[in-house]
């Protein structure tokens, strides 16, 4: 690295040498990261795209055109996984965004030290691997009468419910999937709270004071000042949470193992199983690309729907 500008052979044509003198340092500083992104992200991206049109074999692979995609679109397990992922994402993202916005608004007027305390308390689960949190939820939601959730139900004369072991239909999905969703929405959207908090601090106080002098209550202020002005952050938070929700894996792996049956299969769980349990690389790549297409479409829709030119 110390040899940065000195490695030029003397006979380099003058123009090239000049180009290097002006650009070389920049390239050398960027090179390791750029190489990383090319090797581990962009090449695999293209490779994966090619794989999705192949019947992969460790000896030889055959191009089979759209067969993987056609097979997936006809596959009931893929349908179930896709539907589960969509239901999971809609509910968790909606709740997370709403909860993050409300919590940030509620802790905003508190004295700084309390505000920091709550932000930290909410953030704690976010620094813990989802595996460990999911393990606790699995324990809380277990079907036995000593499971905490079932004990609470029994106090009201209900249950026991096989929260994560019951695939019977419930509210358009199934009990097990709703239990996974429940465990997710009870996890505080910490990143959202922090982002909304930062954005709230930037809203001029005069707006609220003006509203108060017109007699606006807390709800009216929230509805007509806070929500509209936070719209850009809402867009960002919705997009990152949508991506996170579509990629849900640990929670499913730990709590239900995708089961019972295929009741809680999500797309990423299916990709993992297809690719790394059954080594069906071509099919797994096709699944991944369908997921990619769905995420991209939803991100575009969210950008369109929430785009606004907020100024204050």
């Amino acid at each position: 690295m110390t040899a940065i500008a000195t490695s030029q052979p003397a006979r380099t044509p003058g123009r090239l040498r000049r180009f290097w003198r002006h650009n070389g340092a920049g390239y050398l500083f960027v090179a390791p990261s750029l190489a990383f992104f090319i090797i581990f992200i962009f090449i695999p991206l293209g490779w994966s795209f090619l794989l999705s049109f192949q019947d992969f074999g460790f000896r030889e692979s055959v191009f089979i055109g759209l067969d993987n995609y056609v097979a997936l679109l006809r596959d009931p397990i893929f349908h179930q996984a896709a539907l589960n992922t969509v239901i999971y994402s809609i509910f968790t993202v909606a709740v997370w965004v709403l909860v993050a916005m409300i919590l940030a608004t509620l802790i905003h007027p508190l004295p700084p030290r309390l505000r920091t305390f709550f932000r930290a308390a909410y953030y704690l689960p976010a620094v813990t691997s989802a595996v460990f949190i999911a393990l606790v939820w699995k324990w809380v939601l277990n079907a036995n009468p000593w499971g905490l959730a079932n004990y609470l139900l029994s106090l009201f004369g209900a249950g026991p419910v096989g929260f994560i072991s019951d695939p019977s239909p419930f509210l358009g999905a199934n009990v097990a999937l709703w239990s996974v969703i429940l465990s997710s929405v009870l996890t505080i959207p910490a990143v959202g709270v922090v982002l909304y908090s930062a954005a709230l601090a930037a809203i001029p106080r005069e707006l609220y004071e003006a509203a108060e002098s017109e007699g606006a209550g807390a709800l009216a202020k929230f509805r007509y000042i806070t929500v509209p002005l936070l719209k850009p952050v809402t867009l960002y938070v919705a997009v990152i949470y949508t991506i996170a929700a579509f990629e849900v894996f640990e929670r499913v792996y730990v709590m239900t193992g995708g089961g019972p049956g295929y009741a809680t299969h999500t797309i990423v769980y299916l990709i993992w199983r297809t690719g790394f349990r059954f080594s069906e690389y071509g099919l797994a790549s096709a699944q991944a690309f369908l997921l990619f297409a769905v995420i991209a479409t939803i991100s575009v829709i969210q950008f369109r729907a929430l785009r606004s030119d907020v100024e204050y």
Partner: protein, 320 residues
């Protein structure tokens, strides 16, 4: 901050949030200077209303914090509960005859220290990679001029839009070809740089004054020396944020280590503890003890470096 503490000293005039607020306030240090104010009569009804409004949110905020922290409590409580007591009905919210048996049997049945060491090694290596490579790239994007700079930056940032799962299979083939399957290096290599760090370093370095760098160049420092001895020391806050985020992220990573690592002795804590759950599916105390051992280091790290975490989330958001 101090003036709020006076509320409980006075007879309540209006209904106000009760238990939760008082509990929390007790924990707060009250500057002595504020105490005389507590004896003064309330200035006006408006002040009271405002204060009530300000603190009424605690009715919601406190229970939500309890929900957020509940999994940790239940993890600790179950880990300390003897195996027989854990499946008693009704379940006890507090560990009645607390014991360290679960932790002891965890250390006996699983190579938990080895897993912790693997996690540490992977997290440390990835952290160093991020700090070095992200800073270098961030410096180039903040300070250097070179043809194609905007294009390269856009390319790198655009990789955020690519879900990690699209690249899993080819990455695994690549790692296998390199002979790094079932090897800690196979976990480390594909995470050695990242967008977030590059972005954050670039933001931070753009805000630094250029004079020092120019002075160093006048004194004959080469590009690397300027970066290493001038820019990096000045960027310490950003480096700390990138380092901590990378470390925690790598420590908690699950899917990729699950795919790459298969030897029991090579697992990381999250993968190992998830495996324990399959091996000892009925021994809940053991599972919770494992979760505890995996979670505690990151919680301690978070409590120590809280400011960097919250700052990192905020700065990372600026790109919008």
């Amino acid at each position: 901050m101090a003036t709020e503490s006076e509320v409980s000293d006075r007879p309540p005039r209006e209904p106000r949030p009760q238990m939760p607020t008082d509990d929390l306030r007790e924990g707060l240090p009250v500057p002595a200077a504020a105490l005389p104010a507590a004896a003064a009569p309330p200035a006006a009804g408006g002040r009271w209303r405002r204060r009530r409004e300000r603190f009424s949110s605690l009715i919601i905020v406190v229970p939500v914090a309890l929900i957020a922290l509940f999994p940790f409590y239940w993890m600790v409580a179950t880990a300390l509960t003897p195996r027989a007591a854990a499946i008693r009905v009704p379940p006890s919210l507090f560990p009645t005859d607390a014991t360290l048996d679960n932790l002891r049997s965890l250390f006996e049945t699983a190579p938990i220290m080895l897993w912790a060491f693997n996690s540490l090694l992977i997290a440390a290596a990835i952290m160093v990679g991020h700090v070095v490579f992200d800073s270098m790239a961030g410096y180039a994007f903040a300070r250097k001029r070179f043809a194609g700079k905007a294009l390269i930056f856009t390319l790198i940032v655009s990789s955020l839009m690519i879900p990690v799962h699209v690249t899993l299979v080819p990455r695994f083939i690549l790692i296998t070809e390199l002979g790094l399957n079932n090897n800690l290096l196979g976990v480390i290599a594909p995470s050695i740089a990242d967008v977030f760090g590059i972005f954050l370093m670039r933001q931070f370095m753009q805000s630094l004054p250029r004079e020092l760098e120019e002075a160093a160049r006048v004194d004959g420092a080469n590009e690397w020396q300027v970066f290493r001895h001038i820019v990096m020391p000045l960027s310490r806050p950003a480096v700390a944020t990138v380092g901590i985020f990378s470390f925690v992220g790598a420590w908690n990573a699950f899917l990729w280590p699950l795919i790459v690592l298969s030897d029991r002795s090579l697992l990381t804590l999250p993968v190992g503890v998830a495996l324990l759950q399959q091996e000892f599916s009925t021994n809940i105390g053991l599972q919770m003890a494992g979760a505890l051992v995996g979670a505690v280091p990151m919680i301690v790290l978070f409590l120590l470096f809280q400011r960097h975490f919250l700052e990192g989330v905020r700065v990372g958001a600026l790109k919008g």
